[in-house]
């Protein structure tokens, strides 16, 4: 179990992304970064200044963005694609399937500003289906880091991975949730709090809220385990099985649709290997307009909301 050091300061994980890709590019001249117009919103201005030839901006053209990345990977480059998650996953889904996953191209896609980061901009800009889409594709590694430290390590691991990977890079502010000695590994969950009554499995922006829920539950005498699940594919099945067997009830929570994301992945494992009561928390469908934090509160994706769901599930178990 890792020490939890939830900080009061909130961080934009794009900053960790931006500094990491510069470090990667310094160390390896095969690294190239691709974007579709979004130099500023991907925080790539400094990268462009330092590595002008290795920042390939194809304009507003997601299909070609991913296709060009595949071509570069075929030639031995290590492309990192940075684009708004809602557009790159949906518009270029077939390129991701065929040109990257089927071909096993070593391309890292960084889905920027995912979930409801663009809350006020409405459902066209909400990215709450991206994980479900990508999870359905064979041979795609799907990563949803929770804080700057994990974002940096996830980007590095994705680039090192011998195949395509997707990293969701949060724009919505998150506190640091991992200690300095945390080591991210693809496919490994991280237990952030022990408990025997119920488990909350979370990733991305929901990890800090899950930790808050555990504190609220502790005050009510419910011992809640908190599992951070940054890798949605391949899922850490052992950790899910342990949660089911040792706590008997699982709540999943994610900044994503309730259909087919982390909750879907955990449920597939639970029903087939270790059936226990579950509750999948997330967004129900197309969302109204509103600031990101307002949307999270509106749909109960808060420490309070998670704690209530976990308490109900614990009662049901009893």
């Amino acid at each position: 179990m890792t020490t939890v050091t939830t900080s009061p300061v909130l961080f934009d994980c794009r900053d960790a992304f931006a500094s990491t890709v510069q470090e990667l590019a310094e160390a390896d001249d095969r690294i190239v970064v691709l974007c579709g117009d979004s130099v500023g919103s991907s925080k790539l201005v400094e990268f462009k200044r330092r590595f002008p030839d290795r920042l390939i901006n194809v304009g507003i053209a997601e299909q070609t963005l991913v296709g060009v990345a595949a071509g570069l990977a075929n030639e031995g480059k290590r492309p990192i694609v940075s684009a708004a998650s809602c557009f790159v996953t949906a518009r270029a889904l077939e390129q991701i399937k065929v040109d990257l996953a089927y071909t096993n191209a070593r391309v890292t896609i960084c889905g920027m500003s995912p979930g409801v980061a663009y809350g006020e901009l409405g459902p066209t800009h909400h990215s709450i289906e991206d994980i479900a889409w990508l999870r359905a594709i064979d041979n795609m590694v799907v990563l949803v880091p929770a804080d700057p430290r994990e974002t940096e390590q996830a980007v590095r691991a994705a680039v090192e991975h011998d195949g395509p990977a997707f990293v969701r890079v949060s724009r919505m502010g998150v506190p640091e949730v991992y200690a300095d000695d945390y080591e991210f590994r693809i496919g490994k969950a991280c237990r952030l709090g022990e408990g025997s009554d119920v488990t909350v499995v979370a990733n991305g922006t929901m990890v800090a809220r899950a930790l808050g829920a555990a504190r609220l539950l502790a005050a009510r005498g419910i011992a809640c385990r908190v599992v951070s699940m940054p890798t949605v594919t391949p899922l850490d099945i052992d950790e899910i099985r342990a949660a089911a067997e040792e706590t008997g009830a699982i709540v999943t929570v994610e900044e994503h649709s309730v259909r087919g994301g982390l909750g879907g992945a955990v449920a597939e494992t639970v029903v087939s290997r270790c059936p226990v009561p579950m509750r999948i928390m997330g967004f129900p469908g197309f969302l109204p307009t509103g600031p990101a934090t307002w949307l999270l509160e509106h749909f109960g994706l808060t420490a309070q909301g998670i704690s209530e769901a976990a308490a109900e599930l614990t009662d049901r178990k009893r």
Binding site: A61, Q63, T64, V68, G71, A73, N74, V98
Partner: protein, 290 residues
Amino acid sequence: MTAIAGHALPVGRVDPGLPTEERARLLSQAARAIRRRDLQMVKAAGLGHIGGDFSSADIVAVLLLAVLNIDPSRPKLADRDRFVMSKGHSSGVLYATLAAAGFFSPALLEQYMTPLSPLSGHPDARKVPGVEASTGTLGHGLPIAVGMAIAGDLDRSARRTFCLVGDGELQEGSNWEALMVAAHRGLERLTVIVDRNGLQQGATTEETSRLEPLADRARAFGWAVSEVDGHDYGALLRLFEGLPVVAGRPSFVIAHTHKGYPVSFMLDRVEWHHKIPSAAQVEAALEELS
């Protein structure tokens, strides 16, 4: 597969030192053999796209057997020229030509689309030597080829990238995104060849969603355009050996072709997009190709 007997595929590339006329003669012989072999593959599989195979057969043969700087015995050689077959449904002619070039044994062609075969209905770059990109979904090959050409520039390499697209395929918007990127970056070592047979699955391209004026459109996108008879080996050789069409720009070659060429009962007939010939039609076509 007894029909193969007597129609053996010649294996080997055309000697680049020979005069153009002699190379054209050898390519015409090879392309006839490739078409015969492809016809038998499609008949045996009961699947395939013979019409588009035959319209592109001469272009593919000229590239793989004569123009590309490649060594089939070393398919991953660093500075080889790259060929992306974006119209992946013409896999039959691609496989037969790769075998003729020497990338793998012609015996493998007997496995075309059989269970567990590496030779799927659409080419898989991970399974077939000489296939540079997995294609089949239309509009994917050109963006990949643009990425490959950008990599060549980053590597300061003289290697060239060729991408063969179907004409109907140009209705996919991703191609036009890629055309913009290539022109913007002045990728002069990139050449796109359009197999302009004028037909797509159910009708002509012009009846379906008009492509003309295609040359003007490509020019307007910043490409240097050249038009050629896609069944004239000498003309294809001279054009490819004179690339780029204009220095500093990518080349857009409109190769005028005929679906089903040169089989009389297939020629320019839309139903031969993916019709499977009867035994009698196979015999008749083989006779015409002998």
